[in-house]
Amino acid sequence: MKLDRTSVALLAVGAVLIAVGPVLPKWGVSLLNVSLCYGIVVLGMMLMMRTGLVSFGHGLYYCIGAYAGGLLDHYLKLPDMLLMVAGGALSAAVVATILGFLLAKYRDIFFAMLSLAFSMILYGLLTKSASLGSTDGFNVAAKSIAGVAVNGEGRQFAAYALTVALAAVCALLLNLYLRSHRGRLAEAIRDNELRVEYMGASVRNIVHLHYIMAATFAGIGGAMMSINIGHIDPEMTYWPQSGEFVFIGILSGTGSVFAPMLGALLFETIRSFAYEYSPNTWQMVLGITMLIVIVFLPGGLWSLFRQRRAP
């Protein structure tokens, strides 16, 4: 298969990041870990936004992915990184398949609100589930990767390498999809659903498919985040978390699969620095950044990189 430039670049950046992992400072590793996990989730937001939909409850799948991974560790005593990620992805996909039958009919603010309701339902359930630690959640500790036991520095590197690899692979897959016949329909649906139907494609099926894909990315991101952070709690499905994903999605723009990764990295960098120097104003910095992007860069940061279309 012949790969396009973006795909090649993704693989190259991924390989370089893994290679330099051992010499990166600790803060660099954790910044990348968190950013890339967010980036994976936002890949899904990007796909939904291309399709013209914004979910205000995407934290649902982020949380499901994390808890699915956490439960594998907690109850089944299978604290393997790959298993946890696979479990997270699968659980998110299954739930999205079911909820998608309902959501695929909704648009605009109604889609946003129904997805918000679903995420808050999970929030309500988790905060009252004593066996899962209620509002405090519980700790997660992955102890092996693909069956190979890891600990200490090795564990950290394994988690980092897996995060980078997942981010690269997810972005690569989405990039290939967006360039396919069906992937192109995303923007067609955003522009004019009626015409898509009158050209013979089912808008509802495509929206449903994209919803499942977006949820799967969120599940992977959530599971990987739980491995990196070592802790999960119901805040992962509380609405401000979903708001952050939408935020990064808008910040990034939908121009390229690189955009969510860079957007998440910028978001996390702003957050870490602002939090470090002024813990009570970091949200303000984010809010102002967001307003600036909305007003001056409606296409997101990525539009800075893209050449304007010839008239």
Partner: protein
């Protein structure tokens, strides 16, 4: 000659308003049929029923002998009936070529073939170029559809209907909003494209010059009924048509 499209006993009412009243039509393959009538006479309702946007209250529609009354627009489209719109329905943020590429993509995947749908479309391909040539849109290839002049939008709207290779093409007022000196050019182009591919055409039109020149059969609608049906010269000359339709318009 065989009928490609048959409407039998179509009735449609919206509350107290009757938009279709016992419509019976058999359209011959390869014919060009003009639908005339004043606003609200039921022409667009007829097109909407044939393409599945509206379901008739009673009656059936069959295409090539198959009952399509209950099918959804996308299913009817896939069987081979496609339409244009009074207000062009385009993908406004995309270029003209990308607009057409959407249709090419849907055709390649037959709407539901997931493996074909997964294939790459890095190069817009010959199908797009062919349509661009056919409709003389080559010069607009990379222009954003949302910023095109109205006549070109109209043309692209029809091209989008043609790109999915229909066997029946329904045009809803193809020349409305098109300037007087452009309208024949537009119709010539459409009819040429249609003849090359062997498509049966039904079009709604208010401009009797266009109707006279391009159709070989005319259906005159009045208050949901068909009041005249036949060759253009005969229908346009019928007393009822002159009184109810042409009289009202001129």
């Amino acid at each position: 000659m065989t009928a490609i499209l048959v409407a039998a006993g179509l009735n449609k009412s919206f509350g107290a308003v009757t938009a279709a009243n016992d419509i019976n039509i058999a359209v011959e393959r390869d014919s060009v049929v003009g639908l005339i009538g004043s606003n609200g006479a039921g022409k667009t309702t007829f097109i909407n029923m044939v393409t599945g946007y509206l379901k008739p209250t009673t009656g059936t529609i069959s295409f090539e002998g198959r009952d399509i009354t209950a099918l959804a627009p996308r299913q009817i489209t896939r069987l081979g009936i496609c339409r244009s719109f009074q207000i062009p329905q385009l993908f406004n943020s995309m270029s003209v070529a990308e607009n057409l590429l959407v249709g090419v993509g849907i055709m390649a995947s037959a709407g539901s073939d997931w493996i074909a749908a997964g294939r790459q479309t890095g190069n817009p391909g010959e199908a797009v170029d062919a349509i661009l040539d056919q409709f003389n849109l080559g010069g607009y290839r990379d222009r954003q559809a949302g910023l095109l002049p109205e006549g070109t939008r109209k043309l692209l709207d029809i091209a989008l209907a043609m790109v999915v290779q229909p066997r029946i093409l329904l045009l809803d007022e193809p020349t409305s909003g098109v300037s007087a000196d452009e309208k024949f050019e537009l119709m010539d182009m459409v009819m040429k494209a249609v003849r090359e591919t062997g498509v049966t055409v039904l079009f709604v039109e208010h401009d009797m010059e266009i109707v006279e020149r391009y159709t070989d059969r005319v259906l005159a609608f009045y208050e949901g009924r068909i009041i005249a049906d036949g060759a253009p010269a005969t229908v346009l000359d019928a007393a009822e048509v002159r009184r109810y339709i042409i009289g009202e318009q001129r």
